[in-house]
Amino acid sequence: MKHGGPHPLVMILLVAAVTLFGRVLPTWTLSLATVAASNALIALGIVILARTGNVSFGQGLFYAAGGYGVALIANAWGITDAVAQTMIGAVCGGLLGLAIGPLIARYSGIFFGMLTLALSMVLYGALVKSTVLGGSDGFNVGRPSLFGMIFTDPREADFMLYAVSVITTGLAGIAATILFRSELGLASLAVRENNLRVEYLGISSTRVITINFIIAAIFAGASGAFALMAQRHIDPQFAYWTTSGEFVFVAVLAGYQSVAAVFVASMALELVRSFSNLYLPNTWQLVLGVFLLGVILFLPRGIGSLWIRDRPKRKEPPAAAAITAQKEAAL
């Protein structure tokens, strides 16, 4: 399934089920799942971009843009609504992506990756030196609300954030599934394989990459908003290269073939990190490394390859198969 996947209605039901499931989850799992959904959103953007053959090592740039944008607007105008904050984060990330995308889409491969990394580190450096934005310490924001409701019970507040992040990430997943099947989705795979041929077909490969880049930036900005709401604090670490690396880590674990794999990979990573931190506090990074090594060795096309083995082939009747063989032999 390169551009297949379940029907959007099935996915909507799944998102609703996962959201309601949050009601019975223990509190610690709830916050873990919120972080996993948030990270899955940004990793999904990386996967969308990776379908054009380009990997961004600097998604922290848009993650920070979304987070800082929301934090500044929330503090200046008192906007605390979680949905509004998510949308503001997405717009901030998207606008930055719109400004950078057309320039960066001219590059490919390692140059593309390093440029994104360099830009995120430029933002990091600027944020660290910016006293107005709290320098390296960052600054705090208030508790988020939802449609005028203020959640004073921590469990309810956690569930609200969980629900908003799962629904947003789920809707993004549905949008990505539709995108993968679309003209743009197919053209993205074509660009990854042979961008010059795409140009010879009258399609702008730069435009295809730019659009995917902007979508990834929107997702990253919204993810930054979730991180801000969860922590109620923001600092330059949002733009640091290790933060970006973590999102690439999730995307590599997932592979580029499946939207669902991104969510599974993100949750698996959070669980491994959480449990290894709990039981092996001094060597949890080692466990994480071994986990990634295992996935790369045994599932080189990512966790998604567990259920997407190969392209679906339409069944041919034996006679048709024989004709095909004859035709190929003749050529």
């Binding site: 390169k2 551009h3 539709i178 995108l179 099947r181 679309s182 003209e183 743009l184 989705g185 197919l186 053209a187 795979l189 074509a190 394989e193 042979n194 010059l196 041929r197 795409v198 140009e199 010879y200 077909l201 009258g202 399609i203 702008s204 435009r207 295809v208 659009i211 392209r311 082939k313 339409r314 041919e316 048709a320 004709i323 095909t324 035709k327 190929e328 003749a330 050529l331």
Partner: protein, 249 residues
């Protein structure tokens, strides 16, 4: 009749190597022109300049009277020149129908859709119709990576035909095809191209193919045009026999 392609004084140098030396060719609509010449004679450089991949150092290239010498391959394709490649340039992880679907989605000036399925019925029908013209409809859902070299060649040409080009440039359409099948392959190509009545320029090393399918031959030698005219006359030309065909006919 006004030429569909008009090239005048085209020059291209790569350091000391002269790849195109004051090339001038007019190609009338409906012609089947074969470009012949030894390796390095400048045939592919000519094709690359006409399709916008290389910019000429000097000279003009006009399609239906419009200057296209400084345009990108994308713009040139949109204006009506398509090409196939000596080594098929396909998206090997996609199926034959999907390859055609990518080409179909490039038609017109509209932006690619975010939501319309790439293989919506109209687009798939168009893809299947083109594959059927080449006798490849049965292989529509097979990934390119599973197809034989000759089939890939035909899919590559089918993709070039999607835009219904005014001028179709084929770079060695029968290279890699067995001697027994080369005429059958070329027959398929000519038959498939016929409904669109495109003007065809094909680079070819096989003089049997040239004499059978071309109605005009242009012989290249060291970036210059050595001879240009009726296939029979060009292939009999003493200089062509000496520098290009080596006496083959």
């Amino acid at each position: 009749m006004n030429p569909v392609l008009s090239v005048h004084g085209l020059e291209k140098r790569f350091g000391a190597v002269v790849a195109a030396d004051a090339l001038s060719i007019d190609i009338a609509p409906g012609q089947k022109v074969s470009l012949i010449g030894a390796n390095g004679a400048g045939k592919t450089t000519f094709v690359n300049m006409v399709t916008g991949y290389l910019r000429p150092d000097a000279g003009s290239i006009a399609l239906d009277g419009m200057d296209i010498a400084r345009r990108s391959p994308r713009n040139v394709a949109r204006l009506g020149i398509s090409r196939s490649f000596q080594i098929p340039q396909l998206f090997i992880e996609l199926t034959a129908a999907e390859n055609l679907a990518v080409a179909v989605s490039g038609i017109g000036a509209r932006a690619l859709s975010f939501h319309a399925p790439a293989e919506a019925q109209g687009r798939r029908d168009k893809a299947l119709e083109l594959l059927a013209r080449f006798g490849l409809a049965d292989l529509a859902d097979r990934p390119i990576s599973e197809l034989a070299g000759g089939v890939r060649k035909l899919v590559d040409i089918a993709m070039a035909l999607v835009r219904r080009p005014k001028l179709l440039l084929l770079d060695e359409p029968t290279s890699g095809v067995s001697a027994e099948e080369k005429f059958a392959t070329m027959d398929r190509v000519v038959h498939a191209v016929a409904p669109d009545a495109a003007t065809i320029v094909f680079v070819e090393h096989d003089m049997e193919i040239v004499s059978r399918y071309a109605d005009r031959v242009v012989a290249f030698y060291q970036g210059r045009i050595l001879a240009d005219g009726d296939p029979h006359d060009v292939l009999k030309d003493a200089e062509v026999r000496r520098y290009v065909t080596g006496g083959a006919q």
